[in-house]
């Protein structure tokens, strides 16, 4: 277990972050390359106002008609993403590691707040999972990947929470926490989770497409 943990927090974490960053960069660059010839629409009707409006209305909790029509989902969806990004990035435990490794770190949340947000995240993930099972049109579309990725995304939070509160065998929960996080990072560039970056491009694309027609961009 110890050697495995050493591996995961040594070469493992380097590999995971490098694959994450390089993978996403390559994906975006490749798409940029083919877009110059095959997506002229994207370049012919550029207007940053359209793009920004298109993006902002889908970043705020109930910004679009479609989210307003399903408010419980919309709020769970919003909280899920805010905590997904906010907790790992501003967690004291993580920043301590950054500080120790590179001498830099970001400001940290008090642990009690991070704790609450973790629970909020897990509850919203449960709402999303339940929705996927209960609503016919979502269930029909859902593939094994959709369920797997949702569970994989939640796994670091579950194991992190357990480790922090020292519930269960500590070494195991901590090792699993790092393992799941690394698997997640590696999968992001190769799956629909690439939407971390691609969301901004596809919304911009629709913004330009609708904007050029004098229509609303969100």
């Amino acid at each position: 277990m110890n050697e495995f943990y050493e591996f995961l927090t040594g070469p493992g974490i380097w590999a995971a972050f490098i694959i994450f960053i390089v993978g996403l960069s390559v994906r975006v660059t490749y798409l940029y390359g083919i877009s110059k010839e095959r997506d002229r629409v994207f370049y012919n009707h550029v207007n940053m106002k359209w793009a920004i409006r298109s993006i902002i209305h889908w970043l705020i909790p109930l910004g679009s008609v479609s989210l307003r029509a399903q408010p419980v989902f919309a709020i769970a969806f919003f909280l899920f993403h805010v905590c997904l990004l906010g907790v790992p990035i501003f967690l004291l435990a993580h920043n301590t590691l950054w500080q120790a490794a590179f001498g830099v770190s970001l400001p940290s949340l008090p642990d009690s707040i991070a704790d609450v947000l973790t629970v909020v995240f897990l509850l919203s993930a449960l709402v999303l999972l339940a929705r996927r099972i209960v609503r016919a049109e979502v269930r029909f579309l859902s593939t094994a990947w959709d369920y797997a990725l949702l569970i994989l995304t939640s796994a670091p939070f579950v194991t992190g929470f357990l480790a922090y509160h020292q519930i269960g065998p500590y070494k195991l929960t901590l090792t699993l926490h790092v393992l799941f996080a690394e698997i997640l990072l590696i999968i992001i560039p190769f799956s629909k989770l690439g939407h971390i970056v691609l969301f901004f491009f596809s919304r911009t694309s629709l913004g330009f497409e609708m904007g050029r027609r004098g229509a609303r961009t969100w």
Binding site: D39, N44, S66, E137, R139
Partner: protein, 439 residues
């Protein structure tokens, strides 16, 4: 579809088309769809069929284009025929779903791409194939000859000039301000539509002309996925307009004609900058400007008194940005205007537009079923009159009126405006002018 073509599928052509269309956008859309299902509730096909999950836009794309890419084009005729029923029978490319998708995925573009591929294999609705033949031989979907067209225009001019002094329908007038193009149905079946347009242009003192060629602004080839022919049709219009040296091409009250001329045409023709060579203006915008600027004045006593509602043609409102102009016109012509719910950019497709109706009897049952959503919207407003600046919406709503007993009348703006507008003395026929002078 055409039974005549039982040729084996040409996978080489399919692969080529898949490759050309393998764009950043399509790749991105196909890979990031998160199966969230928000698109389902947006689609009137889904809603009308008691929320059948097979009718969610995401599912329609997955079972057609995504599957085709996954199989790298190695498919059989049976697969394409299954796609045929989805991409033409379950979608009008109205684009409402794109407004509901968190990623802004443009499902209609992917459906159109799939149509292009099926079209390349001769798998196209029969009704559209017929019109393609007509477009190729005569430049218009009705197969009308130039002589017949010009004759119809002069006949209308002759008849109508008895009601309105000085009315003319100029053909090929060099240097006019606008070149007015029509839906080929108009000269063929509803020539009075051309007469009404002429009356409006006369009273508004517009400097206009109709062209002897390139006068059909419809583009069913676009709906059929025939990019080359669709481009050619638009090119006829552009070429004539440039030849006549006009300042803009005006589009009759038709939805997809506007979309074709202004937005899709340049891309079908491969214009790098994606813009038409000459400005395009829709009738709704023109009429709005005439009313706003007082070039046309409405007699208050002749305003519509019965409750009126507005059918937003998808290609004029959501995909054309003119939903506010349509409502602004309403203020001048209707006393009791009642908007549908939802309305404007979020209004539902009527189910018949873009080219769905011309696809023929094969699809009639489907569009009457899916049109239930529109019928319910209309019923809920309590309106007795539905105004819609689109020929396909017009036909569909008339059919829905019969199917669902809505008890409504459908009209286009031209009809209401010509009946309610004040005709300045100089345009009134000689006898009335004399009587008028004594008032």
């Amino acid at each position: 579809m055409s039974d005549a073509l039982q040729k084996p599928i040409n996978t080489k052509v399919i692969k080529e088309l898949l490759d050309i269309n393998d764009s950043a956008r399509i790749r991105t859309w196909l890979s990031i769809c998160a199966s969230c299902g928000l698109c389902a509730e947006s689609c009137f096909f889904y809603l009308a069929k008691n929320k059948d999950p097979k009718l969610s836009p995401a599912y329609k794309v997955r079972t057609t284009l995504k599957e085709l890419y996954r199989r790298k084009g190695e498919v059989d005729r049976e697969f394409l025929e299954k796609c045929y029923n989805i991409i033409w029978g379950e979608c009008t490319t109205c684009r409402r779903c794109s407004l509901f998708c968190p990623f802004g995925i443009d499902i209609s573009i992917m459906i159109a791409t799939m149509r292009g591929i099926c079209n390349s294999q001769g798998i196209v609705p029969e009704g559209l194939l017929k019109t393609s033949e007509n477009y190729r031989t005569t430049g218009n979907q009705m197969g009308m000859s130039t002589e017949d067209f010009v004759e119809t225009c002069s006949w209308m001019a002759e008849e109508t000039s008895e009601e309105m002094r000085g009315l003319e329908i100029p053909i090929d007038k060099q240097g006019a301000r606008i070149m007015y193009t029509v839906n080929a149905r108009e000269p063929m079946y509803y020539p009075q539509d051309i007469a009404m347009a002429a009356k409006i242009f006369t009273v508004a003192e517009e400097d206009w002309t109709m062209p002897s060629t390139g006068w059909d602004d419809t583009n069913l080839a676009m709906f059929a996925g025939d990019k080359a022919l669709g481009g050619q049709i638009v090119k006829n219009m552009y070429t004539k307009a440039l030849e006549l040296g006009v300042q803009a091409i005006a589009i009759t009250e038709c939805g997809h004609a506007y979309r074709s001329a202004l937005f899709e045409g340049p891309y079908m023709l491969g214009y790098r900058n994606g813009k038409p060579p000459i400005p395009i203006v829709h009738s709704v915008r023109l009429f709005y400007e005439y009313l706003r600027d007082g070039r046309i004045k409405i007699d208050p006593d002749k305003m519509l008194k019965e409750p009126v509602t507005y059918q937003d043609p998808c290609n004029v409102s959501r995909n054309g940005g003119l939903w506010e102009e349509g409502r602004a016109i309403m203020k001048y012509i209707a006393r009791d205007f009642r908007d549908m719910t939802p309305s404007g950019i979020y209004n539902h497709c009527c189910g018949g537009g873009g080219g769905f109706i011309p696809m023929g009897p094969e699809f009639k049952k489907r569009r009457l079923e899916s049109g239930r959503i529109k019928a319910e919207q209309i019923k809920a407003t309590g309106a007795k009159i539905v105004i819609t600046p689109c020929h396909n919406c017009f036909d569909q709503i008339r059919d829905l009126d019969k199917e669902y007993n809505l008890g409504i009348k459908v009209v286009q703006f031209k009809e209401v405006i010509t009946e309610a507008m004040i005709i300045p003395e100089k345009f009134r026929p000689v006898e009335t002018a004399d009587e008028g002078a004594q008032d």
